[in-house]
Structures are given as C-alpha cells and as structure tokens.
C-alpha cells in the first residue's frame, strides 16, 4: 500500500525525526511503501508533492502541533495520532489502515 506521513513535535529537535524513522522502519517491515515528511527545527524536509499525496491510500499525521500546509491533506483519508504513538507502538497505527 502507498502511504504518506508527516511528523512534527514541539521543539522539532528529536521526536520529529525519531517518529519518521519509526514509521519508515515499520512500513518496510509490513511491506508498505511510505514517504515521511518532517516538519522540525530545519523546516519542512522530504516534502510531499501533490501527486504523492493524491496517489496515496492514507496519510498518517503523527503531529503534536499545527502543521504547515495541512490543506494538502483535505481530500485524503487521514489517521491523526500524537508523535508519542508513533514512537511507542507504530504497528498499532498501521493496524488502523
């Protein structure tokens, strides 16, 4: 399955990137293809294109703060979780798909 995701934590120093890594690892393990955009202290990295979002089955938003350009996800199914959930039990998020 094609999945897109965004991670963003309050300081943008650590958990944004840890959560991204967790989602990528877990997706690989479960045989999904995933692209994770990070919105942290360095701004938006690995930015999702419109095409990538439109062709994805679901968007996982592991965010603790309001993200930038959230309107991009208006027309796609979303699973919104706290960053902690992506850290603690990422497989549970994928189970919701």
């Amino acid at each position: 399955m094609k999945i897109v995701a965004v991670t963003a934590c309050p300081t943008g120093i650590a958990h944004t990137y840890m959560a991204a890594e967790q989602l990528e690892k877990t997706a690989r393990k479960l045989g999904h293809s995933i692209k994770v955009e990070t919105q942290g202290a360095m701004g938006i990295e690995n930015k999702l294109t419109e095409d990538e979002i439109n062709s994805a089955a679901v968007a996982i938003l592991a965010v603790d703060i309001a993200i930038e350009e959230s309107e991009r996800f208006d027309h796609i199914r979303k699973i919104k979780v706290p960053v902690q959930a992506a850290m603690k039990n990422p497989e549970a998020i994928f189970a919701q798909i």
Binding site: T11, I13, A14, H15, M18, E21, G40, A41, G43, Q84
Partner: protein, 837 residues
C-alpha cells in the same frame, strides 16, 4: 488644662520608625509634655520618644489622641496639628525597598521537594558557600564584663550619659558626611534612637534602682526595646530590632572601648557570617580562610563591604528575610545562584549542594589549564589579561587565578572608612607588597578616586547635587595637594621595587595631566635629593573615562606613556545614562555602534602614537564581548580575578584576523541589536564541536531524573558551553512537560533550544544505576543523550546531525553499540562515525 488633638492613622503600614521619628522631631521642639494615646489598644506613649511611639503599635486607621500640656502647649498644638495633616500622611513614601527580593523564589527541580528551608535574599556576589551560621555585628556583652554591683551611681550615670552624647554627635557627623541617601537616612534614624528619652531614662533607671553597671544597663535596655519591637505586628517595626541592637552595640563600644566591638569576632571553621551591617574594616578583620559566605541585612550602608566581598570572591546576599529566626551555629548553605540562605539541609539538599560543588570545582579545574599560560589567540597573538584589585590582599588571589599583571589597583579603598588618610609609610608598605606579589609583572596603580559617591569624613567634602559630574578624583587633587603628594611620594618610592605604573583617574584636560606631572617630578626630585631609590622611568598614564579625553588623546600622547579605558564611566558619560535607573538602563549598552566607534578612535589614536592601551571596565570581564575587544586591538584587558581563566580559555579559541573583521563589521552596524546579532553569529561559527570526549561520562551517578538532567547540564557549564545552567535545565523540563523523552529501551533524549547555550552540544551520560524517568515503556533509563541547541539555530549543520542522531537511536544496533562501549574517546568516535560529523 491639657489640649487634645484627635486623628486617625493615615498610614497603610502604621506608625513605624520613620513616621515616629518625624513626630518625635516636632514634639521635642516644645517644652510641653506630649502624650500619644492609641484608643484602639489603650496604650499610651511619650511622643518625644520614638521607642515609646512605636511601642504603641499604631496601625492603619487606629483612632489616636494627642494630649499636650505645658507652657507652650498652644504653639505645640498648632505645630502638631499641621504635622498630622500635612506631613504624617507623606511619611509612607520613602520606605527603603532596595534590598528586598521580590517575586517567588525559583527553586531548581532538585530542590523543590527537598524539605530544606529557604530564606530569600538578593545576591550581590555570586557563588555557593556552606558553613555554620556566625552572627557578627549586633549586640553582645563580652564575657567577664560585670553587669551589676556598682557603688558610685552618679559616676556610672555620667559615664553612660557622656558616651550617649558622644554617640549622638558621631551619628550626626557621619550623617552629614554621608550626604543624601539611604546611608544618611539610616544614620539619622540611629541618631534618633540614641537620643530617645526612653532610652536614656531606661539606662539611668537601671543604674539607680538596680545598681547595674553601664554594660548591664545597656543590655537591659537592648532587651527591653528589642522585645517591644519584635512583638509588633508590623514587619517594618520588627526590622527596627536590628537598629536598636546596633545603637546599643555602638554605645557599649563607646563606654568600654574596642574590646567590645564586633571586630573581635573570630572564626574557627567554615562560616557564613550574618550581620546587620558590616564596615569594610570589620570585613577585613574576619579570617578569610573560614569566611565562606556573607549575609547582610542592609546593603545601602555597606556598599564598600560588598565591593570587598566581591573582590575576595565571598558569596554575598543582602536583604535576607526572617534573619532573626536563624539559629547560631546552624549548618547552612548560602546559595547566591538562587538567591537564598538555605537551612535544614536534608539528604536531598546535601546531594544537590555536593553536585553544585562538583559543578563549580569542575569549571575551576578546566580553567586552571589556562591560568599558568600567557593569554594568546589561537594564532598566537598575545593580549595581556590582568586583574582589577582594590586591596593588597586581592593581589595574591589575582595572580593565583592567572593574572599577567595588575591592570587597575583602585587605591581609594585605602582611604575610606577611617578617621584620617593613610600616611606615606603605610601607603608605601601596601604598594610594596602588591609589587612583591606581582613578582616582576606590571602593576598599574590608580591614584585615589575620591569624592562624588565616595566621600571621606576627614576631607569634609560637602554633599553634591550630581556627584558623578562633580568634585571627584583628579579634580580634588589641587585642593588637597598634600594628600596627593603623599600618595605620589609613596608610589615614587615603591617604584624602586618593580614595574609600577602610575595612572591618573577622571582626566578630562591636558592641563590636569601637566599639573600632576609637575607634582610627580617634584616628588621624584625630592627622593633623589634624599638619596631614596626610585625608578626614574616610572610610566605615567591616564584613565580614558571622560569623553573629552577621547578627543584630546593626540595631545595627551605627548605627555603620558599609556592609557586604560574605564569603560563603565566612559559609557555612562558618553550615553549620558545613569545605569542604576532601571527606566533608562537599557541605554547603557556597550554594543552601541557609537560607543564602539569611540573605542576605535581611542585605540587608533593611542596606536598611531605607539602608546600602550588597555581596558579596565566591566565590559572586559564579559566573555561574550571578547571577540570584539580582541578585534579592537587592545594590549591588555583588566578584569576581576574570577573572570581571568574564562577569558584566557575563550581567547585561545579565537583567531585575531576573524576578530578584527568582526569589529570592522560591527562598526558598520546602525544599532546595538545589529551588533548583538553579528556577535551571536560569530560565536555560533567559532564555537566548540557538537560532541567531544569530555562531554561523555561513563559511570554517571544520579538518584532521580532531576539529578540526571542536572548532571548533564552541569557538564555543559563545566566546559564553558553555558553560563546559565539553570535556564537550560528549565528549558529541558519545559520540554519534558509535554511528554517524557524516555522513549524506551533504557534510553532518554532530554533536549531543548535555549538562548542560554553558547555552543550546540551533545552530552552522553551512562548511569551505573538506572534512573527512573517515567519513560514510554515505564522502565528506568541507563543512557541519557542530552541535546542543547542554540535558540537562533534553524537549518544548521548541527541540526542535520542532531536529526540524524534522533533517527539512529530508534535502531537497536546503534543503542547496543553505545551500551557496550565503555571508553569516552572511542564512544565519541563511534557516535560521530554513525551520524556523520
């Protein structure tokens, strides 16, 4: 027929010492008896006695009655009526609030639940001290002084009466010498207590009716009045207990001589000395080996003592609350960092302060690596780092801290708080000792900067409207020529022993220099005629602290050998700002581009004339300004001893060319903020590596998460990566409040962005005993990787590395390799290789 005057108390804080003293002033100018009756309590008081008035415990809106009877009762009624209507309501305004700490005490996390007792105060000298509470000052009848059994009642009364008169006169003289201000107010208040009718009556009665000696009578009076005041519900009155004590102590000293003075205090173990007030002489008499901390109730009267405490590095608090409840000999910590005196030291508190000692000692140990070396930039350019001192005792401390010379010996301290100026022999001895301590290094002695705010009773200088712009320093020398000659002669003679340089303060015109040089030459001729040895080539220089000097420097260069920029006064005069006025203090900013251009002009002029130039103001002691000052092109920077090691360490990381470029760019800035931003950027580019072996601890020890975070942040402080560890701790805890950074597997990554961090930093702590962390998997933590990032850093190189590290720690293999490696250097290399830095 007595006349009545009724009123209700208009003062929100009640009739405390100040309004009582004002009422007493009016009442005592009439012969009529004036009785003050508090109709709420039924207590009556003699209105000619402050002690009696305050004893009536009059509170806001209490109904009161004045009963006036005597020959001039009608005139007294008119005067007292006017006083009650016009003067009394205004007595509320001038309460001294300067030394009272306000706001909540912000405790570090480790101490929040420690159970220790904290008394707030205002820190005036930083540091942390532990020791037993020893009271100085105050009132104490020495053992062996008889208290009873006198036979000649009249003689004893005369003895006490004469001493009291002497004391009243002395307070009066001191008060007028002190000019206007808190010191003078306090002395006037003490004088009022000393001449209080109740006090005299009480003393005489004790002698007549109970055959008490002077000592016994004074002790009784002290006990009686402090009891009345201490029982008051008004905190302002309770504070006056200390005043009564002080007056009684002074009186005792006048009757029996210096044997009873507070100076006889001796310290036998590590001590925190607690005093109402302490004179510089009393301070210097305390045994420095055991004097670990100082707590003063009053700061305004003891500013010179505070300066001394600062130069000796004795942590000091002023205005500490509830000081009377302190038990003598109790173990306490004076923590100037949090601004409190701490007692009831529980295990948690003891652990905290043992960590604090490790933090402070750790920093010292790092700095000691530099103290023995010459201060140079990384590319080998030397800038002398010298010390500012005020007493001979400080010289040794300064050289032990790595001073390469004395850049400023402020001699005015030798002249203050004494009955007469020190003579030539005494001064000569002091200068000689400083030169000996310098052991060949240069010693710049600044001739006395007296007058203005530093008045001397024996000079009888009248109080000034605007002391900083007035009759002080160099400007008084002509009038007090013999005083100046004596100092010059002592210095000329001392020049025989080493590299002594004489510096003139507050020079604003060429004529002043010429006049002083003439006196110096005459004194040198006299020494030659008397065959006394001296250095004919003794250098003469001036302070550059008046803006006019900066623009006359070319001419000055023909007359003098060197200059030292007094940045405090120069900035104050240049910006026309009194930095003690909080409303305008922000203008007092050495980063003002105009000020930097002024500095540049001064240094360039000195350079063009091949004159040596240093800087001896507070600006020099702040590490953050060092790149600018190095770029400015100074030969020397002179600072207080504790700052020397840090400056040397910082200088060793800078390249001169970079600093010069920075200074040139700063000159082009339009605002102080722009200069600040430039300086920030510079320090980010020239900072320490993100991770270094010294930032890794293998067998760390912490009982709690609070302690673990403190350990990590303390390491940042020890290695000069922050000057404000508590601000960083707080930022980390704020982040921790959103959710725990213990992400499981025995790992935690506490982190923050903070303006208080100088260099982006990683700290790795591996704990010998796991630390509870309320982690996501609820397991304790064995490894902490702490990340502290500068506030201003966005998409920097360092952030990329940090994000790579954050991704890495989610991998078991990375965590395993960290857990297995037990050598800091190898662990550092391992982490760096994994995250690409």
């Amino acid at each position: 027929m007595p006349l009545d005057l009724s009123f209700s108390c208009p003062l929100p804080n009640g009739v405390h010492a100040r309004p009582a003293s004002a009422l007493e002033e009016v009442a005592r100018s009439f012969t009529a008896d004036v009785l003050l009756l508090n109709q709420r309590t039924g207590r009556s008081a003699n209105a000619k006695s402050i002690l009696s008035i305050v004893g009536a415990d009059i509170r806001f809106s209490d109904p009161c009655l004045l009963k006036i009877s005597g020959l001039d009762e009608e005139r007294a009624l008119v005067a007292l009526g006017a006083f009650i209507r016009n003067t009394l309501p205004r007595q509320e305004t001038a309460l001294p609030t300067f030394a009272t700490a306000t706001g909540e005490l912000q405790l570090p996390r480790c101490l929040e639940k420690s159970g220790a007792v904290f008394r707030r105060g205002t820190a005036v000298v930083p540091g942390i001290a532990q020791g037993r509470i020893v009271r100085a000052g105050g009132f104490n009848v020495p053992d062996g002084l008889p208290m009873d059994g006198i036979t000649d009642v009249l003689a004893e009364q005369r003895r006490v009466g004469d001493a009291l008169d002497e004391l009243i006169a002395w307070y009066g003289r001191r008060a007028s010498a002190a000019g206007k201000g808190i010191e003078s107010d306090l002395l006037v208040a003490h004088r009022s207590l000393a001449r209080d009718e109740e006090l005299r009556t009480c003393l005489f009665e004790a002698i007549t009716t109970r055959q008490r000696t002077a000592a016994g009578a004074i002790a009784d009076a002290e006990a009686r009045f402090t009891k009345i005041l201490a029982a008051s519900e008004n905190p302002l009155l309770r504070e006056r207990v200390l005043d009564v004590r002080d007056v009684c102590a002074q009186l005792l000293q006048r009757v029996y001589g210096d044997a009873t003075a507070t100076r006889s205090l001796t310290l036998g173990e590590d001590s925190i000395v607690v005093a109402d007030s302490l004179t510089p002489c009393q301070f210097l008499f305390l045994d420095c080996r055991f004097l670990k901390g100082l707590v003063l109730a009053e700061a305004g009267t003891t500013s010179h003592t505070v300066i001394l405490a600062r130069s000796f590095g004795v942590p000091t608090l002023v205005g500490v609350e509830k000081i009377d409840g302190l038990a003598d000999n109790a173990e306490a910590v004076l923590d100037a960092d949090i601004g409190a005196l701490v007692t009831n030291l529980t295990d948690t508190a003891q652990r905290y302060y043992s960590m604090e000692r490790q933090r402070l000692d750790g920093r010292q140990a790092v700095l000691r690596n530099f103290s023995g070396k010459r201060a140079t930039t990384r590319d080998g350019h030397a800038i002398e780092i010298a010390a500012n001192i005020a007493t001979v005792e400080e010289a040794d401390r300064a050289f032990a801290a790595g001073a390469e010379g004395i850049g400023l010996f402020r001699t005015e301290m030798l002249f203050l708080d004494r009955a007469a100026a020190p003579d030539e022999a005494e001064q000569h001895e002091i200068y000689h000792r400083v030169i000996e301590a310098a052991d060949g290094c240069p010693v710049i002695v600044r001739t006395m900067d007296i007058g203005g705010d530093k008045a001397l009773s024996y000079l009888n200088l009248p109080p000034e409207h605007n002391p900083f712009l007035g009759y002080r320093a160099m400007r008084i020398y002509r009038h007090f020529e013999s005083l100046f000659r004596t100092q010059v002669r002592a210095l000329v003679r001392a020049s025989a022993y080493g590299e002594l340089r004489l510096m003139l303060p507050m020079v604003s015109t060429l004529e002043e220099i010429r006049w002083a040089k003439k006196i110096i030459a005459e004194e040198q001729d006299r020494c030659a005629a008397e065959s006394k040895p001296f250095d004919k080539a003794m250098q003469i220089g001036t302070m550059v602290e008046v803006p006019s000097a900066a623009f006359a420097l070319n001419d000055f260069c023909r007359e003098v050998d060197f200059f030292s920029i007094g940045s405090n006064d120069l900035l104050q005069y240049f910006m026309a700002v009194d930095r003690t006025d909080s409303r305008i203090a922000s203008l007092y900013n050495p980063l003002q581009p105009g000020f930097l251009r002024l500095l540049k002009q001064i240094v360039d002029t000195a350079r063009a004339n091949k004159k040596w130039i240093g800087l001896c103001g507070e600006m020099g002691g702040q590490k953050g300004y060092l790149p600018l000052l190095a770029g400015l092109g100074l030969d020397e920077i002179s600072v207080s001893a504790p700052a020397i090691g840090g400056l040397k360490a910082e200088l060793s990381r800078l390249d001169l060319a970079d600093c010069q470029q920075l200074f040139a760019s700063a000159l082009g800035c339009a605002t102080a903020d722009e200069v600040g931003a430039l300086l920030d950027k510079f320090s980010a580019q020239h900072s320490l590596p993100l991770l270094a072996p010294e930032m890794i601890v293998i067998n760390a020890d912490a009982a709690t998460k609070e302690e673990a975070i403190k350990r990590g942040v303390d390491l940042l402080y020890i290695h000069g990566r922050t000057e404000q560890p508590r601000a960083i701790e707080e930022a980390i805890w704020q982040r921790e409040a959103t959710y725990s950074t213990g992400f499981g597997h025995g790992f935690a990554i506490p982190h923050c962005k903070s303006g208080a961090i100088n260099a982006n930093s990683l700290v790795v702590l591996k704990f010998s005993q796991p630390v509870p962390w309320n982690s996501l998997d609820e397991k304790p933590v064995r490894v902490v990787i702490l990340m502290a990032i500068r506030e201003s850093d966005g998409a920097s190189e360092h952030m990329k590395i940090i994000s790579a590290l954050a991704r890495q720690v989610t991998h078991e293999s990375f965590r395993d390799s960290i857990e297995q490696e037990q050598d800091p250097a190898r662990l550092c290399a391992l982490i760096k290789s994994k995250i690409g830095c």
